[in-house]
C-alpha cells in the first residue's frame, strides 16, 4: 500500500460565506476516492460561527460552574450554550457538544479569530456532506470528507486530531469475524479509521500561524456511500468512563 498525503497550500484567510469546496478545487486537482480532511476552524469561520463574549449574559448555572472551575462566566455560558450535557465541571470543563463529541470547553477555540470566540461548526456532518457534494459537482470525483478537531485523550498527554464530521467515508474498519494468520477469528478489532485519518491530517495541518487547514490523503480508499461520523460516539449505556466521571 502506498499513500500520498499533502496540504493544500495557499488557502486564504477564511471569512463569512467563503465556499470551501471551490477554494479547494482552485488550488488542487482532486482524484476519485481522495480523502479531504478539513480543520473545523475554517468551516466555523465560513459560517461566521463566532460569538462576541461581551454579548453573553451568564445564567446562574454558568456563574456556579465559574466559581468551581475558575473560568470566566461568559466563557462558561458559551460552552453551556454549545452543549447537551455537562460531564465534569472542574478541574476540567468536559461536556458533550451538540454534535455528539465529548470534549473540553465544547471545543471553543480562542485562537485564530480576530476577536470573539470561535465555536465548532453548527453541524459538522452536514458541512462534510455539503462539501463532499460540492466537490463532486465541481470535479465529477467521488471523494471522502472528514472535518477534524483537536481533542485531549484519556491517560495520555497532549491533543490529537479527531473526526467530528464525515461524509462518504467508512468510520470503522470492522475486522471482527475475519481471520488472523492462523485462522483464528478476530474478536475485538473494530478500527476507528476515520479518527486515524483525522489524527494524521491534523499532524500535517499544524496549529497557529503555520496552519494548513486542508489535507488530501490519496491512495487510502475508505470511500463509503455512508455519511456521518455518529458511529464513533459511544452510547451512554456502555460508556464506563463517562459514568465514572459523572459520579466523581
Amino acid at each position: 500500500m502506498n499513500i500520498n498525503a499533502f496540504t493544500v497550500d495557499n488557502i486564504p484567510m477564511i471569512t463569512k460565506g467563503d465556499d470551501i469546496a471551490e477554494i479547494i478545487c482552485q488550488r488542487t486537482l482532486l482524484e476519485e476516492y481522495d480523502i479531504i480532511a478539513i480543520a473545523s476552524t475554517i468551516i466555523s469561520k465560513a459560517q461566521d460561527h463566532i460569538i462576541d463574549p461581551l454579548k453573553i449574559v451568564p445564567t446562574q448555572q454558568a456563574l456556579n460552574i465559574s466559581k468551581k472551575n475558575g473560568m470566566n462566566a461568559e466563557f462558561v455560558q458559551a460552552v453551556l450554550d454549545e452543549s447537551n450535557e455537562v460531564i465534569l465541571e472542574s478541574p476540567i470543563f468536559l461536556v458533550r457538544h451538540h454534535c455528539g463529541n465529548i470534549c473540553i470547553n465544547a471545543g471553543i477555540d480562542q485562537s485564530n479569530v480576530a476577536d470573539g470566540l470561535l465555536l465548532l461548526p453548527v453541524d459538522p456532518d452536514g458541512s462534510a456532506k455539503k462539501i463532499k457534494d460540492d466537490l463532486f459537482r465541481l470535479t465529477g470525483k467521488k471523494v471522502s470528507v472528514v472535518i477534524t478537531d483537536t481533542n485531549g485523550r484519556a491517560f495520555r498527554e497532549g491533543q490529537t486530531g479527531f473526526a467530528i464530521g464525515a461524509a462518504g467515508i467508512m468510520t470503522h474498519h470492522d475486522w471482527r469475524g475475519s481471520t488472523d494468520l492462523f485462522d483464528n477469528v478476530l474478536e475485538v478489532a473494530n478500527e476507528a479509521v476515520v479518527d486515524e485519518v483525522a489524527g494524521f491530517a491534523n499532524c500535517l495541518m499544524g496549529e497557529g500561524n503555520w496552519g494548513m487547514p486542508v489535507v488530501v490523503i490519496r491512495g487510502l480508499d475508505l470511500y463509503s456511500r455512508n455519511d456521518g461520523v455518529g458511529a464513533v460516539y459511544r452510547s451512554d449505556d456502555i460508556d464506563i468512563i463517562k459514568k465514572a466521571l459523572k459520579n466523581f
Copy 2:
C-alpha cells in the same frame, strides 16, 4: 507539505530471534528521517514474549477479579503479571502495563499467535532504540522508530493505533507560546504527533491476516535526538479520568 507512506511488503512470519531491522532493510530502501512504524506484535514474536496459559497458576487476586469480570482466571493472572496497577476490574479490565501504557487486558493479544498469549514487548522503548540504532548501522540513515499498539479510547467507539515505544522522534509538537494568525499566543496546543503517526500507520497496517506490520512514513520530519515515549503518559496527580475510574 507532501508525505509518502507505504507498507513494507513481504515481511515473513516473525519468530523467535528474528532481526527486525535486517528484515526491514532487506525489503526497502530507507531514507534519512524516515519514520518507521512497527506493530508491537512482531517485536513480541521476535522476543518470543508468548506465554502458555496452561502453565499459569492464578493467585487469589486473579480468582477474585475473574469472578467479577467473568474472564478466565489464567488470563486475568497473565494480565496482572504484565501490569503495575489495576485501574478497573470490571466490566472492562483496565490496567497500567509495566511500560506505562494504560490499556485493556495489558494489551495481551490472542490473535496471530499459533498458540499461547502474545504479550506486549518486554521494553518497547528499548526495542525502538535498538531497531533505530540497528537501522543506522545497516543504512547510515538517521531514522525515527515508533512501536504501535491498538487501544480503545474514552467516549469513542473502536480502537486506533497508539505509540507504546519510540526512538529518535519528538513525541509532541508543543505549539504553546507560538502565535496564531492574529498574533495571539497559543495556550493549549501540545500536539501528540507520535500518536497521530502511530494511528495512521495502524490504518495502513490492517489487522488479522491482512497484516502489514511495518509502515514507512517519508517527508514528515519529526526526528529528534530524544528516545522514549514516556512523555505521552499522563502523571497520576493530574489524571482526572484515572482518579474517577479508581473511585468508581
